[in-house]
């Protein structure tokens, strides 16, 4: 399995709802080169999740456009696949069937599906559970199945919407590392939306901070760290502190006694 990344170009993207006076975000511009892992950090309600849904083609922006390798995103496609907060697996299917479901939608042959699914399951290290009932898996294993279900489509771009926030700290850390490692090995782009500074530092090549009303990208920071990254590494800690400071400044943060949502986890 080898995948090429894609150049993401967001041009003047706005989203406003008729029921609200202020747009969710207004004329956002952003470029991400092929193979980059980009983190979008922001507090709840800053519009980062909406932005991700537009990137996935699941929602339409009011203005502007998204280009992937020059092609405008007008709807969902196996080339850009989203992973959600919860795994949302199909409980009537085995692990193997869940992973292959996207390929059956695309009417692939049985043999090709079997080959690709086996590879994707190996990638997420669930070989021993290939025929298991997904309801018997732990939360982390289920999210691995969801990851394999996305990877099997060989997407150029994997969109992650706070995908590990429901998991315990150890499982979360393992998956963050694994997803980054897989993306670097296969070469696809990642856009991860998160409110967890740690997650951005561990997973991303670059972090952008969204804030304000209407939301906009107010800062960006290169996460220039060698792999594999470890939380306890002083370099990682230093960058985490810098990112946190930028985030607080950007969010116009004034009350130090209130902790940032999820930032300390």
């Amino acid at each position: 399995m080898s995948i090429r990344g894609t150049e993401i170009k967001i041009e003047g993207l706005s989203q406003r709802y008729p029921s609200r006076k202020v747009p969710t975000f207004n004329r956002v511009d952003l470029i991400s080169p092929p193979g980059e892992a980009l983190a979008i950090i922001g507090r709840s309600g800053c519009g980062k999740s909406t932005l991700l849904h537009i990137l996935a083609g699941l929602t339409k922006g009011t203005e502007g456009r998204v280009l992937l390798n020059g092609t405008e995103v007008t709807g969902p496609s196996p080339r850009w696949v989203m992973m959600f907060q919860a795994p949302h697996l199909y409980p009537w299917m085995t692990v193997t069937e869940n992973v292959g479901v996207g390929l059956t939608f695309a009417r692939w042959g049985k043999k090709e599906i079997a080959e690709r699914v086996t590879e994707a399951i190996r990638l997420v290290e669930l070989q021993d559970f290939a025929q298991a009932n997904v309801q018997d898996l732990s939360g982390g294993q289920q999210q691995r199945v969801a990851l394999a279900r996305s990877l099997v489509m060989e997407p150029e771009l994997l969109l992650l919407d706070e995908p590990f926030s429901a998991l315990d700290a150890f499982t979360r850390a393992a998956l963050q590392k694994d997803v980054r490692a897989i993306s670097k090995r296969l070469g696809f782009n990642i856009v991860i939306v998160t409110h967890d500074i740690d997650e951005a530092v561990i997973m991303a090549d670059r972090a952008v901070i969204m804030a304000g009303s209407p939301g906009d990208i107010v800062h960006e920071l290169d996460v220039d760290l060698p792999d594999p990254r470890d939380r306890t590494d002083p370099e990682v800690q230093k960058l985490r502190a810098r990112l946190m400071a930028t985030f607080q400044e950007a969010a116009n943060y004034k009350k130090p006694e209130v902790s940032l949502a999820g930032a300390g986890r």
Partner: protein, 273 residues
Amino acid sequence: MNFAATPARQGGFLNLGQIALQRLTWAAGGLSILAVVWLIAGHLLTSNPKLASYSTFGLIPTLQAFPDMWEAGKIQNASMASGYRLGAGLLIAILIGAPLGVLVGRIKWFAAYSNSPFQFIRMISPLAWMPIAVLVFATWNGSIIFLIAIASVWPVLFATAAGLAKVDPAWFKVARNLGAHPLQMLTRIIMPAIAFDVFSGIRLALGVAWIVLVPAEYLGVTSGLGYAIEDSRETLTYNHLTALVLTIGVIGYVLDSILVLLIKHFSWHRGGA
């Protein structure tokens, strides 16, 4: 790793044979008790001179009636006629009930408007429709099929709606995200997700339909199990009557068991059926 991998559909594989054997033992035991009670009642009828003319209601005369009736084709013909009406009525109920159930389950305003009229019509005894059905439909068959359909449409409709209400909306989002077409959404996601509930509804519908069928056949028609029972009563062949009653029980039991198997096959719920 300490992990019990279970096949997705069967749910527990090693114990399946044991469980089946145990169920079979229970069924055989329960039915034997029923047979003994019947045997004793038959004996009481025979030994009491006042009731001796009803002695053919007993278990033994009933079982003795089967070979003759089978040879004359009485059981087969009656079962076929009734089966056709039941099948046609149920099919109509499913074809109307399942799509309406989807509408109730998916569209809020439709559910809001339809609830009262549906509950109102549901509470009318199916047999109360009989005179109207006879007036409206040209044939007896038509009116009986109508009665079965109107009796059994409700369990299918409400079970389908309840099944859809439990469906995780994110399943649709994920499928769309992975490139599912609307038809694939229906066949690969919606149908397997609610098959368990739909078949549970059909099982209830079958029970109601089977109950409505026999009395409906008491009136007018000259075929079917209900008619055959009436006929046996009038010709005083009581052992034929009980043989037919027994046949009704057996067919109903078999059909119900088939649906139970289907429900089990399509069940993915944990801690449920």
